[in-house]
């Protein structure tokens, strides 16, 4: 088999970015929930909220570390595998990436230290501030990378000049680049997707605890906060999705045609497929269930105006259809499912019977897989739908490769990534399971130190107490007791 650098590099990028994207959405979504929980603690001083914030912080920390570790890979890969692309977009893309590092990464990784390790070193207000900064930092980092990616989808505020190594894009208008036609729509959609994942994640584990009748108060409160976020975000993302589709219709007609399996422009209104199996050979959607004229209605507001089909796109500029169509439809179906499930849960919560409905709780335990798939599917449709371009309309993916790199090297790195990521994933699942089985520490009424930071000396006592009981070193209540005893002395 002929090894193809293009195919291998695309596979490697797809694999590493999809693996990376398992983690950031949860950091964003869970980060917001941490802010809500800790905010409630500051407001009510109810120790249960502190126990919640502490437990979810531990889960957050593991997830965050995985995101950092797999994220550096992405920044390196632009240069290692896509050198020609980097030369072409560096002037535009690089500044967004540098801003991301300066404004977002320093913020989140710095304050993460206080969030995770600083519970006993700073007061509750400073701790809350750190949580807020970590959450903001994770949102900022999505802002800059989505600006850069949106610019690739709908370039704006630039001109093409002759650089030292052939043509390249240079910024003309920074704000036009930042607010290119797709940035706001895509950012909103991505953040809402992350919030849904965070909410479904917390609901999943909480539902599991409720079913197993463990940590009931903790689990019910966590569930309710997450349900509030999950329901709001699920409803809003439908609105955002519609706005996104219209934006794509306006700016990337070929991509919309791929999403909808719209091969032929035809006369009159264009149909909207609910389900189907696009056949690119035959240029038609098989086994499709379609609403006639609906696509025209969604885009133009009437049932008559035809939508540009793939037949009006030059052959060499046509994106693949099967993958964008499938992932796009899976994402939408899951979105509908999120709305249904959260609304149903809200209804039973209002009736006061939510936590008795075991079938519904079980549904929530497994429903967390949904947002993971939906987030990935959405990105696959967005990125594959942009093909064959890496910068829409300007630079083809095949022209973005590194000339100095040979197929054997890419194959080597893919195999290494495959092995290391498989191991990482297994360990991550194991650690997560360990944390879930361990569960939250019981809430301690009236924290002994009333919010004042503990002095170093006392921390040492905590450490000593910790060490004298190997194996039980992580029992928070034990340490608290020890601490309280010392205080009495």
């Amino acid at each position: 088999m002929e090894l193809d650098v293009l195919l291998l590099s695309r596979l490697q990028f797809a694999f590493t970015i999809m693996f990376h994207y398992i983690f950031p959405p949860l950091s964003i979504g869970l980060g917001l929930l941490l802010v809500m929980m800790e905010g409630m603690f500051l407001k009510t001083r109810d120790p249960q909220y502190e126990a919640m914030a502490r437990f979810w912080t531990r889960v957050f920390a593991v997830n965050f570390a995985m995101g950092v570790a797999s994220g550096i890979v992405m920044e390196f890969e632009f240069g290692t595998n896509w050198a020609a692309y980097s030369r072409y977009v560096g002037d535009v893309f690089g500044s967004a990436l540098a801003a991301e590092g300066l404004f977002a990464f320093f913020l989140e990784s710095g304050f993460l230290a206080v969030l995770v390790f600083g519970w006993d070193r700073v007061g509750p207000k400073m701790h809350f501030f750190s949580t807020l900064m970590v959450s903001l930092g994770s949102i900022f980092s999505s802002v800059w990378i989505i600006i850069a990616n949106s610019w690739q989808q709908t370039p704006a505020g630039y001109h093409i000049v002759n650089g030292p190594n052939g043509p390249r894009a240079e910024i003309l208008d920074f704000w036009a680049m930042v607010f290119n036609p797709s940035t706001v729509d895509r950012l909103t959609h991505t953040l809402l997707g992350a919030f849904i994942l965070g909410a479904f994640f917390v609901m999943s584990i909480s539902a599991y605890y409720i079913i197993k009748e463990r940590h009931l108060d903790f689990a019910k409160r966590s569930f309710k906060i997450a349900l509030a976020l999950g329901t709001t975000s699920s409803l809003l993302i439908a609105v955002s999705g519609h706005s996104n589709a219209n934006m794509v219709a306006e700016n990337q007609p070929a991509k919309l045609a791929a999403f909808e399996g719209h091969f032929h422009t035809g006369e009159g209104g264009s149909p909207l497929y609910i389900i189907g199996w696009p056949d690119e050979e035959a240029q038609e959607v098989r086994y499709g269930v379609a609403i006639p004229g609906m696509l025209s209605f969604l885009v133009h507001g009437d049932f008559e105006t035809p939508i540009k089909g793939l037949d009006q796109i030059p052959d060499e500029d046509e994106p693949p259809v099967f993958l964008p169509f499938m992932t796009y439809h899976v994402m939408i179906a899951l979105g509908m499912f999120f709305i249904g499930l959260t609304l149903l849960s809200c209804f039973f919560l209002w009736r006061g019977t939510l936590f008795e409905k075991r079938w519904l709780l079980w549904a929530h335990v497994f429903a967390v897989v949904g947002p993971y798939i939906a987030n990935q599917a959405g990105w696959v449709s967005a990125e594959v739908g942009r093909q064959p371009f890496i910068v829409y309309g300007h630079l083809r993916t095949s022209d973005g490769l590194s000339e100095a790199v040979v197929a054997e090297h890419v194959l080597t790195s893919i195999i290494m990534f495959g092995l290391i990521y498989a191991m990482l994933f297994a360990v991550w699942v194991w650690v997560l399971n360990h944390k879930i089985q361990h569960g939250p520490e019981p809430a301690v009424s009236a924290a002994p130190h009333g919010g004042a930071p503990i002095s170093g000396g006392k921390d040492l006592l905590v450490a000593t107490a910790d060490l004298t009981r190997p194996g039980k070193g992580h029992s928070l209540s034990g340490i608290r007791d020890e601490d309280a005893t010392r205080e009495e002395e």
Partner: protein
Amino acid sequence: MMEFETLQIFWFVTVGFFLAGYAILDGFDLGVGIMHLLVAKTDHERRITMNSIGPLWDGNEVWLVVFGGALFAAFPEAYATAFSMFYLPLHLVLFGLIFRAVSLEFRSKSDNPLWRKAWDVGFFMASTVTTFIFGVAVGGSIQGLPIDERFIFRGELLDLLQPYGLMVGTMAVATFAMHGTIYLYLKTEGELQERAHHWMWRTFGFFLVAYLLTTIATFQVAPHATQNFKEYPIAWVIVLLNVLAIANIPRAIHLGRPGYAFLSSCCTIAALATLFGAALFPNLILTTLADGKSLTIYNASSSHGTLHLMQIIAFIGAPLVLTYTCIIYWVFRGKVELGHNSY
């Protein structure tokens, strides 16, 4: 708006600043990783050493990310050439950094001694390999590499592994090992600190030998590296400061002032990074091909507008970054204490 040329120099210095910051800050994290098997013996001591960098390594690693981002933005041609040229070595660095992160994160998740031992070795290997490759890359840039007139690397993997590069790689390991050991001396107490003190002298000796050999080799292998020193004799001040900083390390150890020793070690790394910059300027990557073209800050940079824009971003961002870096280091000052939030 500054002159284009002034901005190009500004960004050369700024990118260098991020690299030096990374070397100083993550340098002690990597150094702790290189030395922890030797310095820390018991499980408790291993936990102390890991937790000495626990809250900090993540933020320190961001300096590398920002260095990469700044290089990408300011000198995209150099970023593209260097990263695609060092394809396999950089992937090893990535695997190293991933392993370091997960070793720290997962070690304490089980009490099984074999589990912990495995992550201990992983932590050591990851730190050592990563440091070594950084050094090899620096050596390669000083010595020059086969780059053609379109800035494309035209060599083989073996061209990256010249004896000089391997020597700089060894020196990088020696430097960070010393830096990390001094850091451990600063952050630990009792028997562990005694052992760190012991290893401080040895790593300093290792560093000194590597430093002298590399200096001699640089004159042999890369005579062009001293060109700037002939043209701008003021650059000798850096050499002088470098020697003073190095000499101050044993003095501070002898006086029993670890903070002072650590500061000297930081200054040593800063001076080494500055020397690296002074040797390169105005080149970024030197070509060894007769018909090739070296990448310089003038022919590899982004447009005037972008450099100006990024300068504004940097001026807004830098004070913020410095503020919260100081906050974090202040919160986690003092000796390492294990608590229930520790690794």
